[in-house]
Amino acid sequence: MKAAVAVEEKLVRVLGDGGRVDQGKDPGLADRDLLTLYRTMLLNRLVDERMFRLQRQGRIAFYIGSAGEEAAIIGAAFALEDRDWVVPCYREFGAAYLRGFPLRDFFCQVFGNADDLIRGRQMPVHIASPRLHLLSVSSPVGTQIPHAVGLAMAARIRKLKEVTLVFFGEGATSEGDFHVSMNFAGVFKAPCVFLCRNNQWAISVPGTKQTAAESIDIKARAYGFEGIRVDGNDVLAVYTTTRKAVEKARSGGGPTLIEAFTYRQGPHSTSDDPRSYRGEEEVEEWKKKDPIARFRQYLEARKLWDEDRDMTLARELNDQILSTLKEVENIGPPPPETAVEDVYAEIPWHLREQREEIIRRAARQRQSWPR
């Protein structure tokens, strides 16, 4: 691994030790906003924990979480306005929730049930919401990045002052899609902010094997625009940095690449066991830098928060999670023939035939189709 300490010295940072903040750097957010940020980060963490438990219990098939990366995800998304666009990778539930994605809709998606907005079509966490200007999550690494640039180019062409924020991991920077999109963004001065969550791991592959570059932010120069490196566990630093980049983009200044240097505390997904490729000490070291704890210290130092309130909030959120889960867990799947709908706006003849076949078989065979 890269010598994290040396590297961290270059990071943009707002939150210091013990909740202290350099006054000049504090973005001066209203108390309400600070608490919204905190509440969202905590909810994200609690949802993740619950989902991992559900997966171990066999109640859901798969999950992929954000533990350790909540500041990078939620801090960045908080810098947007409603008209702006979020192009998520697969760890951005927190950003979606912040923009208004209901917990209920999220759980229905995770179950792939009849109320799932995407009709049971994708694995858990692959949400989408045009209403919230949130594109559709896709599993392939990096493929969303050109979409973000295209959205931003469209906004420019249509003279709308919308900005696009796109998330991806440091592993994604190795794909061709990252490169072609960054290059298009530079050439077309697309109002796009690239948020690379450098969580230092791409499944089992550490950042040092992903690229020989000294850091990710410097890659922006190859495309003629600015790159910034920020402490990804510092929600205020991520927010301020993204905010600046968003304003620059909105006022015609073009794209920015933000590298949020952070750490994936958990396994890559419920399918992964990181013990065979990284040491526990490393994980423990980074858990000490947990973004939620760090932000709480700040809120406590500002007297906005205390342990009591924290326990109350956690209880409330957990209750909400559990009651929502209970509400949706027994909703059945959508009818099986929906599996051949939405391939096209109208169903062509060959899919009509296949749809009829499913309906026939469903009548005969449905009991023997395990979900």
């Binding site: 919401s129 045009p130 559709s136 050109p146 973000a148 640039v149 295209g150 959205l151 062409i157």
Partner: protein, 324 residues
């Protein structure tokens, strides 16, 4: 009505749609000031400005990938891939993203992108200026695939493709770009996707073709007619969804089928036509369905005339089928 070739008809379709709908934009390598290496976008940047007609960097994945983003925003991008042979760097964006976006978002998003690309051989272009990759896209659920054979269809089908709410792969027969001429109405008209056209009528054999091979097949059918063999010649025009009714109606009449395409045979579109026909009309068949196709090789340079089906070869196929 004016006489146009296919290039002019494509250009006219783009112009008509860009006039009508300001969401339509054109992008790709060399399509702006230069008007495209085949000149299909000539004059469009002058007319509609560089925001709606623009050159991109040299990256097909970027062209298709950003077009998807634009379409998700509500635009109707019509990207050009300079040669169909160069579409593969964008294959992931087409197959995993463009084709699946509607389905995977539960119908919440649509991706109305029309990807135009010249395809096919006969221009001494060798491996990389001659390929016919349509089967890859016919196999990809979520895409429509259109291949016109003449100027009138090119314009009418391209207009339909641009108005369609789903992604369309629009392959243009470069070999016939200037050679195929015909009357093309001014202004708007459209030809529905999914409908074939019967080009010749006869009851001894059904010949299925599309794109540049339609012309080869027509020559062969005319030679056959001169020998007293009457064939239905069907120009498929849309490969996905293909016009099953037109095909079956003809096959039930003739009982014999020759399929012509220049793409390699194995797992080509001809295989699908053959399989579907024998699934749905086996008892009507009086002879094996014959495929007259390119060979299972990369596209050769020196011997492209041996590789490409020609009228003699198609005629031999018709005669063999009819004599079976």
């Amino acid at each position: 009505m004016a006489e146009m070739n296919i290039i002019q008809a494509v250009n006219d379709a783009l112009r008509v749609e860009m006039e009508r709908d300001e969401r339509v934009i054109v992008m790709g390598e060399d399509v702006g000031r230069f008007g495209g290496v085949f000149r299909a976008t000539q004059g469009l940047q002058e007319r509609f400005g560089p925001d709606r007609v623009f050159d991109t960097p040299l990256a097909e994945a970027g062209i298709v990938g950003t077009a998807i983003g634009m379409a998700l925003h509500g635009l109707r991008p019509v990207p050009e891939i300079q040669f169909a042979d160069y579409i593969y760097p964008a294959f992931d964006q087409i197959v995993n993203e463009l084709a699946k976006y509607r389905y995977r978002s539960g119908g919440q998003y649509t991706c109305p992108v029309v990807i135009r690309a010249p395809y096919g051989g006969g221009v001494r272009g060798g491996h990389y200026h001659s390929q016919s990759p349509e089967a890859y896209f016919v196999h990809t659920a979520g895409l429509k695939v259109v291949i016109p054979s003449n100027p009138y269809d090119a314009k009418g089908l391209l207009i339909s493709a641009i108005r369609d709410d789903d992604p369309v792969m629009f392959f243009e027969p470069k070999r016939m770009y200037r050679a195929a001429k015909g009357e093309v109405p001014e202004g708007e008209y459209s030809i529905p996707l999914g409908q074939a056209a019967r080009v010749r009528e006869g009851d001894q054999c059904t010949v299925l073709a599309y794109g540049a091979m339609l012309h080869t097949a027509r020559d062969a059918v005319d030679l056959a007619a001169a020998k007293g063999i009457g064939c239905d010649l069907i120009d498929l025009r849309t490969l996905l969804p293909f016009d099953i009714e037109a095909i079956l109606t003809s096959v039930k009449k003739t009982g014999r089928v020759v399929i012509v395409h220049e793409a390699p045979r194995t797992c080509g579109f001809g295989a699908e036509l053959s399989a579907t026909i024998s699934e749905k009309a086996l008892l009507h068949l009086e002879a094996p369905i014959l495929r007259i196709t390119g060979f299972d090789t990369p596209f050769p340079y020196t011997w492209e005339r041996a590789y490409l089906p020609d009228a003699e070869r198609v005629l031999a196929g018709i005669e063999e089928t009819v004599a079976f």
